[in-house]
């Protein structure tokens, strides 16, 4: 049901039945290794290209989700997923091997929450019983496409971020066991004329602030409603910028309750500069870490605003600014929603 200008309320309470997360060796050394169901020792994952490795991780995330949810593949009506690689190749190939009716989504690193919001919306309208939604990224595949060859020695500025290697998947179902998806806010594309692809956090901060503000306005609630407000991959720069922007707009978010998946995933001594990023970042940290906290009862209500930077290598070469987007989804423990 439409609420306000750009939000949905899911009155039928679609819920997340199970999740699956896969990570690479660098993520295994990170701050939250327990968030992963499968961790790989090798970036290649026994494949002969980075793109195939990413496809493999996505397949594993889907299989793990189904296994943990004890649902057979044939029962799942739709797969909604996307990634960052040209034409979403890894996702399309993984969708081909899984043979589940497939909808491809692209919001760069906000793909995870776009997929989750769409899945919840379809489930809420009784358009399906089970929907898988997933997002994946691979550090080397992304570096290769967007930046330089993996082994190229270019010094990165302190504002740049480290693309997460991994995949995260969630199984959304009709009102069942597991945390409920209560509402979602679809973001507008924000373009502040920022052109530096090595400072995506700074560019995306405005999109996060806009969507979070829109969410509170549409839902007529204030930040105290949530135990935690989680952003996708703003990193240290973007988190600070967006928090200050929200304070300037009279949205008093407690700094301790405002966390970022890109900061949560890696340890401070890992060489990730401003933090983690990538489509898998928000998917893994939300599904593998924060959702588990909700299930354990440590958190009651969370708002996840995944952020995406919608530039391409072409637009950067042609000196175009970086358009950014953020989508927010509210997840609540059972019995906690109003």
């Amino acid at each position: 049901m439409l609420q306000g200008h750009q939000s949905w309320i899911f009155e039928n309470r679609p819920s997340i039945l199970s999740t699956g997360t896969v990570g690479g060796p660098f993520e295994a050394k990170g701050k939250i290794p327990e968030a992963f169901d499968i961790l790989h020792e090798d970036m290649w994952i026994n494949q002969d290209s980075w793109e195939k490795a990413q496809q493999k991780m996505l397949e594993e995330a889907i299989q793990t989700t189904l296994k943990k949810g004890r649902i057979e593949k044939e029962k799942v009506e739709f797969l909604i997923a996307g990634d960052l690689i040209n034409q979403m190749t890894p996702t399309s190939f993984a969708a081909s091997t899984s043979s589940i009716p497939f909808l491809g989504t692209f919001s760069a690193c906000a793909t995870s929450m776009e997929s989750l919001a769409l899945a919840a919306s379809i489930i809420n309208a009784k358009g399906a019983n089970y929907i898988l939604c997933a997002a994946s990224s691979h550090n080397a595949a992304t570096e290769k496409q967007f930046r330089y060859p993996t082994e190229y020695g270019g010094q990165k500025p302190p504002t740049s971020q480290w693309t997460v290697t991994g995949a995260g998947c969630a199984l959304v179902t009709q009102n069942g066991a597991g945390p409920s998806i209560t509402s979602a806010t679809i973001g507008k594309v924000a373009d502040m004329g920022m052109t530096d692809p090595f400072n995506m956090g700074g560019a995306m901060a405005i999109a996060a602030a806009d969507t979070i503000e829109a969410h509170f306005r549409d839902m007529q609630i204030d930040p105290s409603y949530y135990d935690l407000i989680i952003t996708g991959d703003l990193g240290h720069v973007g988190r600070e910028v967006s928090l200050d922007l929200l304070h300037d707009r009279n949205i008093p978010i407690d700094a301790e309750k405002y966390v970022d998946c890109g900061i949560a995933i890696y340890r401070e001594d890992q060489p990730v500069l401003a933090g983690g990023s990538g489509a898998a970042c928000s998917a893994i940290v939300t599904y593998g870490h924060f959702l588990q906290e909700v299930m354990k009862g440590n958190l009651k209500r969370i708002l996840v605003a995944a952020t995406g930077s919608l530039h391409s290598t072409l637009s950067i070469q042609q000196k175009d600014p970086i358009p950014c987007i953020a989508h927010a989804v509210s997840i609540e423990a059972r019995g906690e929603h109003i």
Partner: protein, 159 residues
């Protein structure tokens, strides 16, 4: 960023960029310069040692020792790039490891490794010089211009 570009921005965009810039983590330029100076100097020192080695151990002169020295440095770079060490050195050294011939070698070698998955001809062959290509193009072009000026001056200028 040039002023011309800034003028095209809307006032709210300008305001946001200023807001953002205040919170941006700045590049430690002075520290980077020192690191680049030290590592760049170290690479040159190694080059000099190799060059001296060739002059005293083999029959090279100061003029002819250049080629084997460059080849040796590029060979070492190839190993360091292949084992995934060079990009880590570069994150520390910045221009110090990019400007010497090792940086050029790394740009070619890393591209060759990266595009191996797309085959030898269209993958490695056509992408190997993706990063280093511009250096060759503009190197040759500026050499041509300088040679042209020199020819004009010596042939017709009477110098």
């Amino acid at each position: 960023m040039g002023d011309k570009k800034k003028q095209k921005l809307q006032p709210n965009q300008q305001q946001y960029q200023a807001f953002q810039q205040k919170r941006e983590i700045k590049r430690p330029i002075f520290k980077n310069c020192i690191k680049a100076f030290l590592i760049g100097g170290l690479i040159c020192l190694i080059g000099q040692l190799i060059s001296t080695f060739y002059i005293y151990q083999f029959n090279f002169t100061e003029k002819t020792a250049g080629n084997p020295t460059v080849a040796t440095l590029i060979f070492i770079t190839m190993l360091l790039t292949g084992f995934g060490v060079y990009d880590r050195i570069a994150q520390f050294a910045g221009a110090g490891s990019a400007v010497p011939v090792t940086g050029f070698g790394n740009a070619v070698i890393s591209s060759a490794i990266e595009y191996r998955s797309e085959g030898f001809i269209l993958g490695v062959g056509s992408n190997m010089l993706k990063l280093a290509g511009p250096v060759i193009v503009y190197g040759v072009f500026s050499a041509f211009i300088v040679a042209l000026i020199k020819t004009i001056l010596t042939q017709w200028g009477g110098f």
